[in-house]
Each structure stands twice: as structure tokens, then as C-alpha cells.
Symmetry: C2
């Protein structure tokens, strides 16, 4: 993130994150950022020139709240190829996935109880809390369920088929709805493209996607596929929120997609991120053997847990003194986590910094929790 | 607006507007759009290249929710030069003025009663209605007041000083807040730059601005200056809404402002829009003498009223058959207007179409309301 000293910190966590981002020399595993080395600057410049030449008005003038028809057609094509029968008319272009989640929640009248995975994307939890929802485990009955079935954040895991079926069955019994946050689907290392929940229950699923993880987050282009009977309400909420998604960014993404470079970029990105993950796994196995993890199938991060009870903020303070930072596990959880858990994002860390960064965190952990002396 | 057949119409009004926009040959006075002829395409292309060369990460990566510090500094400088003491830290870059209004409303707990001008920007009314507020006249007591004191929409008028003082006094007595929607300030034909309400009551005013009317709406770059004690809440609402404003558009606007071309563009735009208004006024005086209006001091539109009771939708249907469209007056009003009122936006109509468009509307009006035969 670009640095910005003159600002209001939202809370202590935010303050720590900003301090870490603004301290030179800190190796940051925080933030879920794509690697800027992958941003296709030259092709985006070509796309910009082409968008302004071919239809400057579409890029720079006001547009309709649902967004560019051509872009929606492309997204519909992608979803169809993954098994969901979706026409372009059903898609609303949003200002990123965050806004798509926000609009979904605002469109559903019964969100008093929202069921979420054991660990969830903090931006979604923030929306749910602002809506004064009671947050319960995903296995409970609720009016609204939020999950990342394809590739989860922070774990980078795929929801097993029996759990997917059980989730949809539960939603059906409770006459509830599901927000399927598909933000990380395109990051699966194997290149696998998962059948979305949307394909099984289009009348019950609000499907959320984005170009933030696969192209550039600064463009703020995401999408929402609401169930057909929510189409008007969702569109009205989109319009009330900010009239329309950025026209320039929509035109730019569309021209970029037309250039045919996107599949190549995705392939390159998958290999790139997988290499970084492998270096991280190796370093973590060596330096942090006391922390448990499951190997991610995609995504940008590794979720680490300890058996020990510990203050993650204390560890972060110590890590920052050593010159490394990470995301506090508690942000991803419903209640206060008792055991220590942290998220390490490998995506934007320069590959050669990964080992050094992990050693710094390991040093910090030894400071905060000196290993028990072996008993004789 | 770019055409888009495959979509969901929000309501009958929306359907009419879309039909008008999509019917070739229709001269459209609808929409409050800036003239695309003024979009500085070449300079924006230079700004794009420069933004990507100098700091691609700032343009394409995630950023902080409050937005670019440099852009906020520029906006602070503008506000200071107009008499409001505002530091960059107090400004939040938003996805257009619409989102700034939305965030202001979400940040104020008491918005059960919102006081508005006799005619108001429909996008704001939509937000207030969605928040289930009771809408009352601006002269009533309320928890929240919404006004466009510099240049109003749809009338293009400036609020007289006694009314400004009375508004602030009322807000102070009711311990309420004021949303000052300054979207059109930069369009004042005289080039006058008004002292904002923010300058008088920074602890009570949520100041809203945008580049949509003076640069390009497709960039979706606006701003909000909340009262200091709402700083955190507003920033949290911004983050929950869509994380951050479009980074690319922020970088582009910043580079464009740095190029020094903005004052020249504004000067050219003022003269350009004034010429269009003059042609419109002349045509309206000649062709629609039965409609009353006040001459605007700025803005993009002329507000026309008749003494007659009439169905504005009926007139719009007839006008569209004649090949012209406009904005229904009822969208701007609290209750159902009894007398006929319409908004004619001159900003984006090609200058040579203005007379023809007005004749078409006049023909439609004669169809819908044949003039009474003079009594002997």
C-alpha cells in the first residue's frame, strides 16, 4: 500500500498495520495483496489508449448502474464455463468484491443471524457487524450464510463436497441465503476452476467475484450475481451506493480481456505464487515447527496456529522490532481466539525476503514465548 | 450513457430514461451529464502513462481507505482558498459524491427526519428513502439537513446568505448536522468560488465534493469532509463500503491536476456551458412561454415549471415520440408535484440540437395540453 502518514487510524490493529507498512525495512506478510510485479503495465497502457480511442464516452462519462454489458457478458461466459447458467443481465459490476458483499447484505432483509466459517475475510465480518448481525458458526441455522467455498481466505482451502451440500441443504431448510465469496477462485495453483455454489442453487446464492486478485485491486472491479428475485433491489442498492462502478476501469479491464493476455497472465501468476508458497512452507517448517498449518491449494496466504494461548498483538510488536509483520489471526475469527493464530501472506513479499522474514518472526516468537526447557 | 439493452429496469421512470437513451435520433436533455467534448483525453492519456511510470503500485495496488494523501492535499488547498480551514487528514476520497452522501448518512445516528430543499438531487433522496427517513422541508427542524448551497441541482441557483445563516442556526438549535453537497460548485458560470458552509460550522457540516462535473464522472472520484468527531466512523464506513476509491483514477486525477491544465479546462467549460444555456434560454422563451424558470448561475440544467396540473410522464411519452427527452420533475421533489415541472439539462446536448429539441418538447406539450382557445 502507498504510505500515508496523515490519516486517522481506525483502531489499534490498523495502527500497527500502518506502522508496519510505513517502516522501511520491515518484511510484510500482511494484507492479501497481489504481487505488483505481475501487474501488466504495458498491456494496460495499450488497453487505456484503445479504450479512449474506441469509446471514450463509455470510459469517462456516466454509465448505467449495472455496468458495461460487454464486461458482464465476459463474466457470464466464465461462470457458464464453470457450470453455472448465468446470463449477462443477471450480473452487476461492483466497486470490488467488498461492495458486492455489502450490496448482498443490504438486499437481504433477514440478516439478524449470519453464519460464517471458523475463519473469514475480515472485510466481510466488518460489514456483518456494522449491520448488527449476530455471527454464528457456519454449521448453525441462519438467515444468511457467508462462505468462500472455492478457495478460502485465510486458509486457502477448498470446501469439501459434503460440506458444500450440507451448507446448501441448511440454507434451504432455513429459507436462508448464501453469499458465495469467490474472490480467490482464480488463484488455485492447479489451475482448477471450481463449480460454484451458484450452479446448484441460483435462487439462493449471491455470487461475488473480483479482478482484484487476478489482475489489479486498484481498478476496483468486482461483480455480484444476485438471485433473480433480488435483481431490482440489488441494482437499486448499487445505484444508491455510488451510482456505478468506475467506467474507466471497466473499459480498461474489457480491453485487456479482449487482448487475449489474461489466460497467460493467470498461468504465470499461478506458478509465481506457488513458488513463493513453497519457499514459505519450507521456511515455516524449519523455523516455526511449533505452528500447525494445512497446505493451501490457492490464495495468497498461509494460516498458522499454535496450541499455546498467546497475545497475537504482543507477537506482532516483537516481530516488528525484528523487522517483520503479519496479519493478526483474531481479525479473521468470530470471538477472541485463545490460541495463537496468524496469517502470513506470501503473495506480495519479494521471494528472497521470505526466509529472512520467517526467521524474524521465529525470533520474535522465541522472545514472546521462550521454548520450555526439556525436562530431564 | 453507454447503451445497455440487457438489463433490469428499476422502475417506470428508469425504463423511460433508458428507452430515450437507447433510441437513436432522440435529443436528450436528461441526466446531468458533462459534455464529453470537454473530456481532456490527450492529457488524461499523458497522466496515465506518467502515473504508471512514477508509481504504478499506487495506481494498481490496494491503498488505504482514505485515499491518496497528495490528492487530499490538493482538495484541502482548494477548500482553504474558499475560506474553510481544512487539513488533508480530514478528507476521505470517495467513489463519487453519491458515496460521500451515503457515508455521511450512515455515519449519523439520528437521520429519522431529514430536511431537504423543495427540489433536490434524486440520488440523495434515494439514499434518504432507503434509510427510511421522514423527509421534511428544509425550513423544518430535523436531525439532518441536506442542501446544495453553492449551486443547486436542479435549479442552478445559489442559496442567499440569510437562508444559509438560517439553515446553520436551525441545525445548531436542533443539534443536527448538515450535508453540504457541493458537487456543482465548480460549474458557476462567473467563475465565482463560494465560501462553503463548512467554513462556518466545521463541527456540524459534512462537506461533499466531486470531480464528476468538472473533469469526468467515469473516474468516480469525489470526497467527503466529515466533522472531526465523525472522522473514524466515516472512514470505517468508507472501508466497509468498498475498501477504497479506485486507485488508478486517483492517480490519474492527481497527475492531471499536477499538469496544470485544470484551471484552463474549467475556464473553457464555464464559457462552453454558458453558451449552451443561452441558446436554451432563448429557445425556451420562444417555444415554451407558458413555463416559468429562474436563470441559473451555474450547473447543467434549467428547471421549468408550469401553473398547470399535468402528468409529466405523459409529456415525456409525447416528447419521446417527437424525438426529445428530459428529466421528470417529480424525481426531484418530496411529494407528488401537482403542477408540471421538468428538468432540461443543456450540458451534454450538442449546441445545434438545442433549438430543435426544445421545439419537439413544445410540440409534445401542445399535444398533451392544447392551448385554451382565447375567449371572445
Amino acid at each position: 500500500m502507498s504510505s500515508s502518514a496523515a490519516t486517522v487510524a481506525l483502531n489499534a490493529r490498523d495502527l500497527l498495520a500502518r506502522r508496519a507498512a510505513e517502516t522501511p525495512g520491515v518484511i510484510s506478510f500482511a494484507g492479501g495483496l497481489p504481487d505488483p510485479a505481475l501487474f501488466p503495465k504495458r498491456q494496460l497502457t495499450r488497453a487505456f489508449v484503445s479504450a479512449l480511442q474506441s469509446n471514450a464516452a463509455a470510459a469517462l462519462q456516466y454509465g448505467w448502474p449495472e455496468g458495461s454489458l460487454e464486461l458482464r457478458q465476459w463474466i457470464a461466459g466464465e461462470l457458464c464455463s464453470r457450470g453455472a447458467k448465468v446470463s449477462a443481465e443477471r450480473i452487476i459490476i461492483t466497486s470490488g468484491a467488498q461492495q458486492a458483499i455489502q450490496i448482498a447484505v443490504a438486499s437481504i432483509s433477514d440478516h439478524a443471524r449470519i453464519a460464517v466459517e471458523a475463519e473469514s475475510y475480515p472485510g466481510a465480518l466488518e460489514i456483518f457487524r456494522a449491520a448488527q448481525a449476530q455471527l454464528v458458526p457456519l454449521t448453525d441455522q441462519a438467515g444468511l450464510y457467508y462462505a468462500m467455498p472455492s478457495v478460502s481466505n485465510p486458509r486457502g482451502s477448498r470446501m469439501p463436497d459434503p460440506e458444500r451440500r450440507a451448507l446448501l441443504a441448511r440454507a434451504s431448510v432455513s429459507k436462508g441465503f448464501v453469499i458465495e465469496d469467490d474472490a480467490y477462485d482464480g488463484t488455485c495453483f492447479s489451475g482448477a476452476r471450481h463449480r460454484p455454489l451458484l450452479a446448484e442453487a441460483p435462487e439462493r446464492v449471491f455470487h461475488v467475484g473480483t479482478f482484484s486478485k487476478t489482475l489489479c485491486p486498484g481498478l476496483r472491479i468486482g461483480w455480484l450475481v444476485p438471485p433473480p428475485r433480488f435483481a431490482k433491489r440489488a441494482l437499486r442498492n448499487k445505484q444508491a451506493s455510488d451510482l456505478q462502478a468506475n467506467g474507466l476501469a471497466q473499459a480498461l479491464v474489457l480491453e485487456y480481456l479482449r487482448s487475449g493476455h489474461f489466460p497467460k497472465l493467470q498461468k504465470r501468476a499461478r506458478a509465481h505464487y506457488r513458488r513463493k508458497l513453497e519457499r514459505l512452507l519450507e521456511a515455516v517448517r524449519r523455523e516455526l515447527p511449533q505452528l500447525r498449518f494445512d497446505e493451501p491449494i490457492g490464495g495468497f496466504s498461509l494460516w498458522l496456529e499454535s496450541e499455546q494461548e498467546a497475545e497475537d498483538t504482543e507477537l506482532l510488536e516483537a516481530a516488528m522490532q525484528q523487522g517483520a509483520s503479519f496479519d493478526l489471526g483474531r481479525q479473521f475469527r468470530l470471538g477472541r481466539a485463545r490460541n495463537l493464530c496468524i496469517r502470513l501472506c506470501f503473495s506480495a513479499v519479494p521471494a528472497d525476503d521470505i526466509e529472512v522474514g520467517v526467521s524474524r518472526i521465529a525470533r520474535a516468537l522465541r522472545q514472546v514465548h521462550p521454548p520450555a526447557r526439556p525436562s530431564r
